[in-house]
Subunit: 108 residues, 3 copies
Amino acid sequence: MKLVIAIVQDLDADDVVEAITDAGYRVTRIASTGGFFRQGNTTLFCGVEDSQVQSLISLLRKVCQRRSRMLPLAPHSAEQPLTVGAYVEVTVGGATIFVLDVEQYEQI
Amino acid sequence: MKLVIAIVQDLDADDVVEAITDAGYRVTRIASTGGFFRQGNTTLFCGVEDSQVQSLISLLRKVCQRRSRMLPLAPHSAEQPLTVGAYVEVTVGGATIFVLDVEQYEQI
Amino acid sequence: MKLVIAIVQDLDADDVVEAITDAGYRVTRIASTGGFFRQGNTTLFCGVEDSQVQSLISLLRKVCQRRSRMLPLAPHSAEQPLTVGAYVEVTVGGATIFVLDVEQYEQI
Ligand SMILES: Nc1ncnc2c1ncn2[C@@H]1O[C@@H]2COP(=O)(O)O[C@H]3[C@@H](O)[C@H](n4cnc5c(N)ncnc54)O[C@@H]3COP(=O)(O)O[C@H]2[C@H]1O
Ligand SMILES: Nc1ncnc2c1ncn2[C@@H]1O[C@@H]2COP(=O)(O)O[C@H]3[C@@H](O)[C@H](n4cnc5c(N)ncnc54)O[C@@H]3COP(=O)(O)O[C@H]2[C@H]1O
Ligand SMILES: Nc1ncnc2c1ncn2[C@@H]1O[C@@H]2COP(=O)(O)O[C@H]3[C@@H](O)[C@H](n4cnc5c(N)ncnc54)O[C@@H]3COP(=O)(O)O[C@H]2[C@H]1O
């Protein structure tokens, strides 16, 4: 048994949890905060069999892949159409994953 | 030193924490959410001596044992007594426990 | 890679997180509660290289050292100056630290 701890963005948290449970894994989620940006994020704890670790990690890689998003720069009024270029590209997604060895597992 | 991580139902959390501290162990509690039912639950972190792990687990087994409870099916008014059978049996309790090895422990 | 889990007082949490990120380490913070005093505290998760563990611990030791503070015993009105001795000495600070081995680390 291994304990996989994954820190993901709040934006991806619902999709990740759904994908993990759909795949038959168990997961517990905890609200957390990043130390540097001080933004809310999500810390997931997943206890899985040793043989399931790599497939869980590829699931996380798929759902949380870093990707760019275009966000509008500033609110505009209905009369004034957004001109091209009034968007900014930001990177979202990503996950930080730690795999720890579990010496003993009990389910009461 | 081992770190015992136990995920318990909110229903049992206060009793478990009290039983753990009454037994002289130290514990930190964190609010968490189950991935499948999306219900709130409680994640406990307990750093204990190697020799105390099994007695902590039997304490958890005692306080969090799965048991059935009868819950009334629907609210009823004072005039209309609940008929027999208007209850449903649900299972409560349980705990998921991970024991991790602690390489170094410091108390500042 | 090691996962350093540190439980610190809320009073020190902002300073600790700032000191950790200023030193170039990564950290995630989680709100937690002490089992005995039932007071809020903060649990920090820091994944660091093996060679960085001791310097992270001495950073925690510096920011979270136990120290005494004088707290006024009771509110007093502006007309009635506090007499000497109307203070009580309390101990603040401290940290509980667990270092766990990380078998696998991934950054997506
Ligand atoms: N080794 C580790 N141990 C514990 N938690 C970890 C961790 N690595 C990452 N995290 C968690 O994952 C979040 C995203 O990290 P990421 O490395 O993608 O993205 C990070 C990283 O690119 C950068 N960053 C973080 N700390 C930094 C530092 N001390 N100096 C420079 N850049 C930093 O800022 C982004 C946001 O960081 P933030 O702290 O707000 O949020 C972090 C933190 O909550
Ligand atoms: N290996 C593990 N790693 C991390 N956290 C773990 C874990 N095993 C259990 N937990 C945590 O403990 C709670 C209760 O689990 P339990 O196995 O008693 O009871 C579970 C289990 O009987 C069932 N279940 C959970 N995930 C499932 C899945 N993917 N497929 C089918 N049944 C699932 O639903 C109940 C409620 O699950 P929920 O996720 O809401 O809440 C879970 C979850 O927060
Ligand atoms: N081995 C461990 N595993 C998990 N978490 C740990 C831990 N050791 C300490 N902590 C966490 O750190 C907080 C401060 O612990 P400290 O030992 O400085 O200060 C403690 C300790 O001096 C004392 N204490 C705690 N549990 C006790 C017990 N069962 N019997 C007697 N004194 C206790 O009360 C203070 C406040 O405890 P509280 O539980 O409110 O808050 C604790 C708890 O959240």
